[in-house]
Symmetry: C2
Subunit: 537 residues, 2 copies
């Protein structure tokens, strides 16, 4: 049946590359029922990435930056699943289970790989646990809610150290994404601060960390410097040659040893190709799939790769296409054309697109842009930015909604509703640096900690003097006493080395201990032992 | 200092009762600095409850139904925290910790209790685990996303039984809230179904369970019957005298034994007073605080209670104020007035409000209403409903945004973006009925289960015949083999009794087992034992 049925074209990924490839395939194969297009993506929407930072300030509606894939691709079978594995031999893609733990197996004749990149904090201590990524709608909403939460807490916090950390917002990465996030976040927190009775605007710090000597290296020096000036005037503190190296729950730590106390650290770098690629035995360079200038995977006649997961040669023969939306869209058109040509015959196209222009918003009716060999800045660039994005937004309903939101936003105050959503829950990991206190004697006990790596001291004030009761290491845990018997911590836990811990919420821990006899016994032993002497907690 | 400083008025709760009490206090005490008003609420916004169901269909923006408390109450200290405990003797309220595990203690001179009700599934098997509540913004967004997820899965599901369960939506409760949720949900799923290539509208079932013989008992019989007719015409299947008794991950179970296979069960009943009240030694009846017709707690001169957590006598001396927004607002005005009178002298007021009217939306430009002794239905009632709510919305920016959303919604298609948010994660509880399979041989293994209550069989197909390998009970676990060694389940788990389990995600389980030696040893022992014979999984 497989060989007589329609040709099955499978697209993996719903970013600019994947979606525009499917749109183009739908157009080229219109009216033909001997083809079947399927697209797999983990979200049911396409994110219009360049506008995502505007979610932070709420200047556009939550759903305005995204388009439902089914509306964009009426003739494509859209499957909202994670890709678990790809079997290139058998020509089968396996997706993760949905409501029932059964995997789907999807057969294909042609495969388009457009899996993009993922945020990758490997090798950077504590970033996975404490830095906020900024890639999809969930990230943007989470950041927005987190920022509002920090403002809420700062407004009632008496401890001046914690208060300053709550009012310090650090963004790592001075490229387009980092600059736009910093600009929007800065506008937002300074704009809403007056609504908070306990917060003075002068207490707010927004810090942009950039590895280079000037931000926006994608643009000319003149525009980059201009952007710096605009951001600095609005109160963004730009730190140059500053590399984020580690993070704890209380601070961002730079390569030169600087600690910046903060409760909000956003990292727009680094990203690496989708881990699915590691499983594929395909020619790769720098982790990306090598393709011809016709977007075909080297050595294959039915595999195509494009977008940020592919290494696409530019006409100069030396460089490769940069990871921008414009390039992805052009690659998608070429790939779709060539795929259809390989099926039906016809001339193939080669990819030779140099890009039209570049632009970045600086928030607050200001932007910088380069296009047609000219440079623009300020209000004019901002109007260009809005107009171009409005025209590029897929779907007229989206355009209309966004235009209305933007119009409304001009004269309404920004929204400060904090939508509480559980982002990470259950068992989480945390990282601490030497000298950090994980909790202090007298604190409320709301979590249990299990040591993965590193060591810490258990300290208690006895007769007015702080005394070390014990030193704990990997596999040991602390914090269980407050959960079992008491509500406040009987001791302080201070790191003597860099410490990684697993942390469990009170409720989860209680449920496990109650129902797992082995765990209960083990905890009871430790509790008994600790109760004999002055226990650690 | 406490006695010489300003009088501290503390309001607990940010629903209609608490917010309107604070608004009225701000007004009455305007320009006086010898008073300090503080309000504590777990969210930083006030929910305009009657419009919450519209979130489901996205016919209003996500934030249009809520108002930031700080904007509504510019002169009040708003604290966004959970109330942990109230010490009536010491006149102190303790709130839960924020970013740091330290509790806040807030002293008061006058306390207004407006804590409302909470969803309470106690005594109803499996509802806590498998029924979706519908009380706040998070619930509404979660339901919306869940419904879209069910549609996404149904569109690619081959198993016809699972497919039908995915396309069946059950709402329990035929009062205003349940009817409005059913109407909006029905409009939404039928409206967007055509966007899903694999779904036929005729497959969709929306079922409203109601305990009585007609819905909307709050209204006259005529209007109730009319509402039933309108809903039935739109395809809502109303089941009368139907009591929801239990739920599993696959079905809603009624008192008469009927199983309705579904993956979406919304329960708008029952609610009970906030559990904080249980800790307070105050005169109560039916779990609510008894107050005078001046809203003062019996036997106290500085405690006030109102809204759904109070039993407020009506002028007839026999009945009590119903739990509606209108009554809460009137109670708030009386309580605020009397509190100020008790501080500054002056005549007190008594509560004698009978309500102005009642109305409920049926979705799709239709509603039913009773007001001024008259009855309205259809488009006229719907326009009344919209106008009244628009005027009642606190804040002009909110009114404007909502009016724009409603206007836009008239000619744009409904949105189907699924915003993935982790609602419940980590350690969750699940309930199964006798005969249910928790997983089947060959399924993907993505969770570990620990038995809390009940028993189940471990079955494996050997030589084409299903054989029972073991029977497990409380404290035992299953599913660990697939997580440790394999990716698919080696056995089927079938309940022989009603079963409650704790369930852990693969990643959480892996982290715990890796780092907790006691747990690892215990699991290894079981794995060894099971590997000797044909193990359960």
């Amino acid at each position: 049946m497989a060989d007589q049925g329609p040709k099955r074209i499978l697209v993996l990924g719903g970013g600019f590359a994947g979606v525009y490839a499917a749109i183009e395939l739908e157009r080229l194969l219109q009216g033909r029922d001997d083809y079947q297009i399927t697209l797999i993506n983990r979200e049911n929407y396409f994110v219009y990435q360049p506008m995502l930072p505007e979610i932070i300030s709420g200047s556009i509606g939550l759903f305005d930056t995204v388009s439902p894939l089914r509306r964009l691709l009426p003739k494509t079978n859209v499957q909202v699943r994670d890709v678990e594995s790809v079997d290139l031999e058998q020509k089968v893609v396996v997706t993760s289970p949905g409501f029932k733990p059964v995997a789907h197996r999807i057969r294909y004749d042609h495969l388009i790989l457009a899996l993009g990149t993922v945020t990758d904090f490997r090798g950077m201590t504590g970033l996975t646990q404490h830095a906020l990524p900024f890639k999809n709608l969930g990230d943007a909403l989470f950041l927005r809610n987190h920022v509002i939460h920090a403002l809420e807490e700062a407004s009632i916090e008496g401890d001046s150290e914690l208060r300053q950390a709550l009012l310090t917002f650090v963004i790592a990465g001075g490229g387009f994404s980092g600059v736009e996030v910093a600009a929007e976040l800065n506008d937002f927190v300074r704009g809403v601060a007056k609504t908070y009775r306990g917060i003075d605007r002068s207490e707010i710090k927004v810090i942009l960390l950039h590895g280079g000597a000037r931000i926006l290296p994608e643009l000319t020096e003149k525009l980059g410097l201009l952007a710096q000036k605009v951001l600095a005037q609005r109160g963004v503190d730009i730190r140059f040659n500053a590399y984020l190296q580690a993070a704890t729950t209380d601070a961002a730590i730079l390569r030169d040893g600087t600690h910046i106390p903060t409760k909000t650290l956003v990292s727009t770098v680094p990203s690496s190709p989708n881990p699915i690629l590691d499983m594929l035995a395909l020619p790769k360079e720098r982790g990306k799939i090598k393709v011809s200038n016709q977007l075909q995977v080297e050595g294959s006649d039915h595999l195509w790769a494009l977008g940020d997961c592919a290494l696409v040669p530019l006409p100069d023969g030396k460089s490769f296409a940069p990871p921008t939306a414009q390039h992805a869209i052009q690659e998608a058109k070429v790939a779709a054309h060539n795929l259809v040509a390989s099926l039906r015959g016809g001339t193939r196209k080669t990819f030779d697109f140099g890009g039209l222009g570049k632009m970045g918003s600086l928030g607050h009716h200001s932007a910088v842009a380069e296009a047609f060999g000219m440079q623009f800045s300020g209000l004019l660039a901002w109007l260009m930015w809005r107009t171009v994005y409005l025209m590029k937004l897929p779907g007229w309903d989206r355009r209309f909604r966004t235009a209305v939101s933007w119009g409304t936003d001009l004269f309404l105050p920004p929204d400060i509703v904090q939508l509480k959503i559980a982002h990470s829950a259950g068992v989480t990991q945390e990282h601490y640096e030497p000298g950090d206190d994980i909790f202090r004697q007298g604190d409320l006990g709301d979590r249990l900690y299990i040591i993965i790596k590193g060591r810490c001291d258990v300290l208690r004030v006895i007769d007015g003097r702080e005394q070390t009761l014990a030193n704990l290491g990997p596999g040991e845990y602390f914090g269980e006493m407050a959960l079992l018997n008491q509500t406040t911590r009987g001791a302080t836990i201070r790191c003597t080395e860099g410490l990684d811990v697993l942390s469990l919420r009170k409720g989860d821990f209680g449920a496990l201990v109650t129902h797992l006899p082995a765990l209960r016994e083990s905890f009871e032993k430790v509790v008994d032992r600790r109760n004999l002497g002055p226990g650690p907690d």
